[in-house]
Subunit: 187 residues, 2 copies
DNA sequence: CTTCACTATGTCAGTTCTTACATAGATGTA
DNA sequence: TACATCTATGTAAGAACTGACATAGTGAAG
């Protein structure tokens, strides 16, 4: 019957529930710090928007665009909002856990400690950078204390996860660097 | 030229660097707590083993198997070990961050708080379960203090990441439940 | 004045991966 | 005895996704 909507479809609906957007804007919003947890290329977003449109979960109005095509401003429909609301509380299906840095760590015993330290230092810098970003955003969102029922609540909750994730990650990288350093000078 | 090896290929090599295994066993080992960070279905593993074989990174010997085909015991070759060693310290490419629970959180403001609390309680129980598993494994690995250069070091380092990840996750779930609870009784 | 980045849509080829199917012996359970 | 589960390999269809290509206006930097 109704073709199942992939998770990316719900990610798109989640963005449109906040503001009407073009496909291009949706891709941009999903690259934004507080919504970085389900990204996709614009080509895939266009494909999925088409499917959501066929299912009646989104609609659009056109406006003159920069390229040869007209620009399409998508918005979520009542049916789309219903589908999104229903999906939100369904238990998330177990995901394939995939983490390249941890995989490399699993095989780290084969490699050169000094090179590994360099790699983890780079990773640490990235995590610390994002952590600083998130902490700045957190300061302003905590002050505001957004109420449940507003989209700001969703932003805050997702941001909180990103914040503690980066903290955990940075801590782990520091621990790795420590371990690898002490393996260099066994003294 | 030399066809690029997908990340799953290196995950397979990482397992074979520890012990010779059949394709079936590789899938099982990747479902094991300390190597849960790059899982795949056996059909994909068979496909990738074929490619690794064509590239000369693995070899195999046969033994009588249960089914109609013979069982193949794969082992990593010297070339495979070289390729793995080289890959380990290359900077990991930025991955698509995908997390269904956080996506649902991002859209949580649209849903029923009570249903959300139930969902997060389920997630919390899962994280706490894995945390207990990891903590038990950690106790024994810490005692042993495996040296760099042995595969146990890789196990320990990956386990450490899993441990602090589950801790962060469980903390966040508890925070979410708190937030949602206080939105129910505004007192 | 040229070049680059940004906005904006879309196609297409190819890769990665999942799910279901197919086969079949051994082992344990009801 | 019957049935499920584990071991073990593989195929095949299709979903999901990436990256390159194609087009084209605006605005900023050099």
């Amino acid at each position: 019957m109704s073709s199942t909507i992939p998770t990316l479809g719900f990610a798109i609906l989640s963005v449109l529930a906040r503001a009407d957007s073009t496909g291009y804007e949706i891709a941009g919003r999903m690259r934004n710090p507080v919504a970085r947890f389900w990204t996709a290329s614009h080509s895939q977003i266009h494909a999925d928007l088409r499917r959501l449109l066929d299912s009646g979960l989104v609609g659009y109005t056109t406006a003159p665009g920069p390229g040869p095509q007209e620009k399409k401003i998508y918005s979520i429909t009542a049916e789309g909002l219903d589908a999104l609301r229903e999906w939100v509380t369904e238990p998330p299906r177990p995901q394939p856990e995939r983490d390249e840095l941890v995989l490399k760590t699993y095989a780290a015993w084969l490699a050169d400690p000094a090179a590994l330290i360099a790699m983890f230092r780079t990773a640490l810098r990235e995590h610390e950078g994002r952590l600083a970003e998130y902490e700045a955003a957190w300061a302003s969102v905590e002050e505001e204390a957004p109420a449940f029922g507003t989209s700001r609540f969703g932003n805050m909750a997702a941001l909180r996860c990103g914040l503690t994730y980066e903290r955990h990650r940075a801590d782990w990288c520091r621990w790795m660097i420590d371990q690898l350093s002490s393996s260099l000078k066994p003294s």
